[in-house]
Symmetry: C2
Subunit: 430 residues, 2 copies
């Protein structure tokens, strides 16, 4: 008898099928045993009625502990009282393994304990739903760009030079040369987009920052589109369409998961273009009104981002930061060259920055001067400078951190729950 999955169970009403999974919960009622069986795609109630099974099978149900593995066979019938609307009348049951006493119980556990048991914690309903939503977000991210003719180019993880200084880089030995784990694929994207016009990379990026905040991981995934001939306004528009598309997709495809997470989806339903756009100086006015003591001209901290984003009912675009606090490669604003043609997008509800992007300098001499001002090794950037010699064009792009998007869409407090095995300060087990 072939295995079926809970997510397809509606197609098997009236049929006898086999389900393979783990015991999620169990209740006894005289000659009845109600087994909640999870198989990774959903949970089904399997009803064992003493007179329908052999005495051995009925006895076996009493040995089953939480997370024991088992297969159940029986007819599927609709039942309004059952979780998901269906249940199984069990005719046969096979115990694969009776689980040892499971460490994660319905009682409250500390975060440290749960993180030590991350390999098991992933099976908990909440973590399981987050994984399913993350998977959908990643798919939506790729589909949006693929459908619009972007060509994926996987940019390198091991890199010889740093995009923005070496202080927050993981260093490694590459056959007796110093190398670093990438913080962004952007520079390589710029080369690729001169070949394919519209490109993106989507891979792990790394930041060796000794910080412990709810918004940071040492290893996180970032998707970075880059478009030849695009200017700042073009990518602001692309980014707001992008975020709206992803949000809509999750609302459509992961409704049940959001419900289990008790996410207030009214916030997500409001996410549609156009997003409010404010300049850095307008954002700063808000901060002053809110009583922030962040000095003018400096970058926003997490609290500042929260103060700004709380003013809006959807993501807000903040553009044209002072060039002094931004990366070397950003095109200056022709109206005020002390400002950079850049933008960040802050998610609402206090989630803060999820996107950062800019128009890139396309003039060779200006870029060279910037590299020198930032004391970066010109030799390492020779290839990057080359892009400004051979048919240079205005171009722009942005990066979106997936963990922060997942945290925001799921409505969860800390990014550590947004990836299967988070890498944090002093934590790389399991």
């Amino acid at each position: 008898m072939p295995q079926v999955y809970v997510e397809d169970i509606a197609q098997h009403v009236g049929q006898e099928v086999t389900l393979k999974g783990w015991l999620y919960n169990k209740t006894d009622k005289g000659k009845l045993r109600f087994l909640l069986v999870r198989d990774g795609t959903g949970v089904l109630q399997a009803v064992v009625f003493q007179k329908n099974v052999s005495p051995e099978v009925f006895e076996a149900t009493d040995t089953l502990t939480q997370e024991s593995s088992l297969s159940v066979t029986g007819e599927i019938r609709p039942d309004d009282r059952a979780l998901g609307g269906f249940e199984m009348d069990v005719t046969h049951l096979e115990v694969v393994q009776v689980a040892e006493s499971y460490p994660i119980t319905p009682k409250e556990h500390g975060t440290s304990f749960l993180m030590d048991n991350r390999h098991l914690w992933l099976r908990s309903s909440r973590q399981h739903q987050i994984m399913r939503i993350r998977s959908e977000i990643v798919k939506a991210c790729r589909d949006f760009l693929d459908d619009r003719g972007f060509i994926l180019a996987d940019t390198p993880i091991i890199t010889p030079a740093a995009c923005e200084g070496t202080t927050t880089l993981f260093e490694l030995d590459y056959f007796e040369e110093k190398a670093y784990l990438t913080q962004s694929g952007q520079l390589y994207n710029e080369a690729a987009c001169m070949s394919v016009g519209k490109t993106y990379c989507f891979g792990p990026t790394f930041r060796a920052e000794k910080s412990k905040t709810r918004r940071h991981l040492m290893e996180f995934w970032m998707i970075e589109p880059e478009v030849a001939y695009a200017e700042l306004d073009d990518i602001m528009e692309l980014a707001e369409q992008y975020i709206s598309y992803i949000t809509q997709r999750v609302l459509e495809e992961r409704k049940e998961e959001l419900k289990t997470l008790e996410r207030d989806t009214s916030w997500l339903e409001k996410v549609a273009p156009p997003f409010p756009r404010i300049s850095y100086s307008e954002a700063f006015e808000i901060l002053k009104e809110e009583g922030s003591e962040t000095p003018s001209g400096s970058d926003f901290g997490g609290t500042d981002e929260t103060l700004i984003s709380k003013r809006f009912d959807r993501p807000v675009i903040v553009h044209r930061y002072p060039k002094a606090i931004k990366a070397f490669y950003m095109e200056p604003d022709p109206v005020d060259p002390e400002l950079a043609l850049c933008m960040d997008i802050l998610a609402p509800e206090g989630y803060g920055e999820i996107v950062g992007g800019s128009q890139r300098i396309h003039d060779h001499d200006l870029l060279l001067a910037r590299i020198q001002e930032h004391s970066l090794p010109v030799e390492s950037f020779q290839w990057y400078l080359d892009l400004r010699k051979y048919g240079s064009v205005p171009h722009s792009g942005f990066g979106m951190g997936i963990e922060r998007v997942v945290a925001w869409i799921c409505g969860i407090e800390h990014v550590r729950e947004t990836i299967a095995f988070p890498r944090m300060l002093h934590r790389m087990y399991p």
Copy 2:
């Protein structure tokens, strides 16, 4: 006037549009200039007729060098003689930048020179087509699994322990702890599949091997599905459907690119299930017949793989290798416990191994014994052993190396051309 792309040009016949790109080639003919303009999605012939443009514009065409960036405006009309079937009657042209003398010319260049200029080489027709095919292969890889209910779980890149020994690992310092770059997400996949039933990871993997072959990179991308309750036969079937799906997709969606690469697609058209399946010992018989001197019981080298795969017109599955030459986690064959329930898939035309997979040991004590036999640190594998205590189930999976699949499908000799910025022994620039 909004920018249009060459790939959408058929929708704009009879309209005046603007195209932005780079000069690919140019020919003069009296009062006519024929400009081949590439924009990353294709190449269009833009015809500049002296009487249709201002004298300045006509003169400007004579300044244009290879890879100069420009925008051209004009009406699109069908023309059977033109590349792609359309051309543009130019009414306006804007030079964005006249390129310096382009280092890559139609003459033959050495590989080392081309690799030094990889950031520019990517613009060449052949490299450009390979990038487009790789992007499609990656999409097909993900779609196949997503459509079948697999949940993506991005497994960690920075890991504390080694899957198969530390000799070929890149080591790094993780806040004063030793860490390594991952060689496979498999062990983590095994934890994830106990949560979601069917999972996969798809990310960069690393091997610090001092070898220079046409099949190896230091950094390569691998997709690894893992299925709870699946046994060896199940994943052999999954893998042959998978490879067939990917091949068909590229044949459908990247026909033009394959043609440009002069790929003999008759080989790809034959890729359909079932694939021939032979045991290790049957494969060894072939080697003996072919005069190979590889000693019995050892692993196959590249040449051996070529000899075996050349016997078949489609990918061939070789199963049940001696456990002594395989990884510690493989389930022994109940018929002959000296053999492992594993399989490799060898691509035809001498391309060799593209897939490796196995059923995993699900018995706790047997796995513990294997970890000890292989002198691996039990402490680091505690979480992995846990998976065998709490509802352990038979499970299986495989890994597929994307660069090798791209090389095979494109019909190219060396994997260095299959990724935008390859990381090779003594090469990490650009």
